[in-house]
């Protein structure tokens, strides 16, 4: 047991983790601290607005009318049911990959292996799906989800094992494992799993068309959205409202205290890592089963890295992740229209994401600076 506290001290950047807002003051037991809750809503919202203003100024310097750009983003993201469907399709993988950073963050770990976990989950789901393609659709999806969860979950658990057993910094190892996952993906779809018919873009054999994950009703939104929302809600309940979550938050707040209290730090840590990776693995499964129909390099489309952004903006909490993902999904969905209507390159959206992230981080340093959010002292 004594190795744990030193594990914390021996690795490089994770010592800073509790300062990310991860271990934000918990509401006093019994009652909800409304002022703190309000602060946690107002500051990020304000930060997003400031980032939006900065972004519109940037567009202005590039000769695009700020009002026009704002209207176009709004219209493309939330303007009509059709465009909102597009937003939701992009939001669902973000919800799932965000959990991959958010859950370990509550333990005090900065995990950025989202992209790798998504890729491995997608690969595992594709492999399992191809092996079981004669099964009924429902059974096939269940098998693919389980395979995706196992793939992503074990991938991130490995990061956790290295951390707890050897003190290997989890941020660096999860980053390295992203590249390893993409190497394995390319190897498999160019070699053992390759469908000879896929010439331009080497891919695995496809999942049968009639067994793809269906869309919801008559919309274009596929079942991934349900998975995303359900997983975020489960994560929210698990972390905020169960004993397990309470233990996770104690470990994240003060690992020494957690050990003194006799908590099984390693077991809780590894379970959390597994759940985090499993969420990203489901995102990979959805990409395979609902979007691409096969595993190929499109799996590594950057949803993992965007998920890190979502997790930080949502302060690693399940419920806000749903909303932040929807917002970011809308921003991503508006990339096309900015390109067509304003001749702004597609990288504009990346600039916007960067700005949002920078301002959000800056706003983290403002917690406790405004008197209005302070608890009135009796």
């Amino acid at each position: 047991m004594s190795q744990i506290s030193q594990a914390k001290a021996s690795v490089v950047p994770s010592a800073a983790a509790p300062s990310t807002g991860v271990a934000a003051p918990m509401a006093a037991a019994g009652g909800v601290n409304w002022r703190a809750t309000l602060e946690a809503i107002v500051l990020p919202t304000g930060a997003v607005i400031v980032a939006l203003i900065l972004f519109l100024l940037f567009c202005f310097t590039q000769g695009a009318s700020p009002a026009g750009v704002f209207a176009a983003i709004y219209k493309a993201a939330f303007g009509s049911w059709y465009s909102f469907q597009n937003t939701l399709v992009r939001a669902s993988p973000l919800m799932l990959t965000a959990l991959c950073t958010a859950l370990p963050a509550r333990l005090g770990l900065v995990m950025i292996g989202n992209e790798g976990a998504l890729v491995v989950g997608g690969l595992a789901a594709a492999a399992a799906g191809l092996a079981a393609q004669s099964a009924s659709p429902l059974a096939l999806w269940a098998i693919m989800i389980l395979a995706g969860m196992a793939g992503g979950g074990l991938w991130i658990s490995l990061v956790g094992i290295l951390y707890y057993a050897r003190g290997v910094n989890e941020t660096i190892s999860s980053l390295l494992m992203n590249y390893i996952a993409i190497g394995v993906l390319n190897h498999l779809v160019n070699g053992p799993m390759r469908d000879p018919a896929s010439l331009n873009k080497p891919s695995s054999f496809p999942i049968p068309d009639d067994k793809m994950l269906p869309t919801l009703g008559s919309s274009n939104v596929h079942f991934g959205l349900i998975f995303g929302i359900v997983c975020c809600l489960i994560a929210w309940v698990l972390i905020e409202h169960t004993t397990f979550g309470f233990k996770v938050r104690i470990i994240g707040g003060n690992i020494r205290a957690a050990k003194m209290a006799g908590l099984p730090v390693i077991r809780i840590g590894l379970i959390t890592c597994f759940l985090a990776g499993a969420a990203a693995g489901i995102a990979g499964m959805v990409e395979v089963a609902a979007v691409h129909g096969r595993a190929n390099e499109s799996l590594a489309a950057g949803y993992g890295y965007a998920g890190i952004l979502v997790a930080f903006v949502a302060r690693h909490r399940g419920l806000p992740i749903i909303f932040v993902s929807t917002l970011l999904g809308g921003i991503l969905a508006s990339g096309g229209i900015l390109q067509r209507q304003f001749k702004l390159p597609d990288a504009t959206i990346l600039v916007f994401q960067g700005l949002v992230f920078i301002v959000i981080l800056f706003s983290d340093s403002l917690y406790g600076k405004f008197k209005i959010f302070k608890e009135a002292r009796a």
Binding site: Q3, I4, A16, V110, I180, L361
Partner: protein, 308 residues
């Protein structure tokens, strides 16, 4: 020029050439990261810096016709991004890693945005130093045509070691990274030292980007970097925060990156993509072997990444 005429030597020369050419950006970003980390901060945003440097160097070289002005512009662009990062991480409660990822998104976004018009035109390249002119083998001559920025990097690696060991300013940087409270008590400004280190480190990262767009591979595309900037953090751990070992590590990584293509050149394409992942596997293995949860890594700055 085909690899088969010299058989397996082609593989060896290819890997060696890769170490020199492909290792240069690794070298410059890892030196930048080393300086940053010695002052106690981490910059994961060097990937954005690298891309921004590559783009600026290419654009400016194209506009002015002088690649050297391009290199300068790359350093400047890196320094600007570094200043934003330094400001962010100097704030209370801001996590280094998160700030790095934000700067990664912002820097690469800006590079792709501003670099859009420069994907097509070809910019004047940096001249190579033909150290291999003595050889009649074109492969050897090509492998030894080294980048002037590689020479700069090697000189910087030794200069930086000397700086850390023998100069007052270097010791102050180390003090700030090891024990900020003690440094502050000595009258050293922790925040100013860190600011300067992060800005200079980012400038080096930007120059590493200039090597990508102005020497090898020598063009500006959005796919020009294969994560060299992100790897800087791992490289510095690999090099134990020692600038001269950054040189070794960068060569090793450059060489490892070239294994796949070199084998392919002699007709062995099995495991091509797995070989591409070999630098990352290598780093992970080294970390597993050398890390321990009973002590800190040898050479790691004491206050690295700690919240201030």
């Amino acid at each position: 020029m085909n690899g088969e005429s010299i058989g397996w030597w082609g593989v060896v020369i290819g890997i060696f050439a890769g170490a020199l050419r492909g290792g240069t950006p690794f070298l410059l970003v890892s030196l930048g990261e080393c300086l940053t980390e010695k002052s106690g901060k981490i910059n994961l945003g060097l990937e954005g810096v690298l891309l921004m440097g590559a783009m600026s160097a290419y654009a400016v070289s194209y506009k002015t016709g002088s690649p050297w002005v391009g290199v300068f512009a790359a350093g400047f662009a890196g320094a600007v991004l570094g200043a934003i990062h330094a400001f962010l991480v100097s704030r209370p409660k801001v996590n280094d890693i998160a700030a790095g990822i934000a700067m990664l998104l912002f820097g690469s976004g800006m590079a792709f945005y501003l670099g859009k018009p420069y994907v097509q035109p070809s910019a004047p390249q940096l001249p190579g130093i033909p150290l291999g002119a003595w050889s009649h083998l074109p492969q050897v001559a090509a492998a030894l045509k080294i980048s002037p920025l590689f020479v700069l990097g090697v000189a910087l690696a030794f200069a930086m070691r000397w700086f850390f060991q023998n100069t007052r300013a270097g010791m102050q940087v180390r003090a700030v990274g090891d024990a900020p409270a003690a440094a502050r008590a000595m009258g050293v400004s922790v925040s100013r030292t860190r600011f300067v280190c992060i800005v200079i480190g980012s400038a080096l990262g930007g120059i590493g980007g200039a090597h990508l767009s102005l020497f090898y591979p020598g063009a500006w595309t959005e796919a020009i970097s294969s994560g060299q900037g992100l790897m800087a953090v791992a490289l510095v751990i690999f090099a134990r925060w020692n600038p001269v070992q950054c040189l070794t590590a960068a060569m090793l990584f450059g060489g490892a990156q070239a294994i796949g293509p070199s084998l392919q050149a002699v007709g062995i394409s099995a495991g091509y993509y797995l070989w591409n992942a070999s630098p990352y596997v290598l780093t992970l293995v080294v970390m597993i072997l050398t890390c321990s949860n009973k002590r800190t890594l040898i050479g790691a700055p004491g206050a690295l990444g700690a919240a201030t």
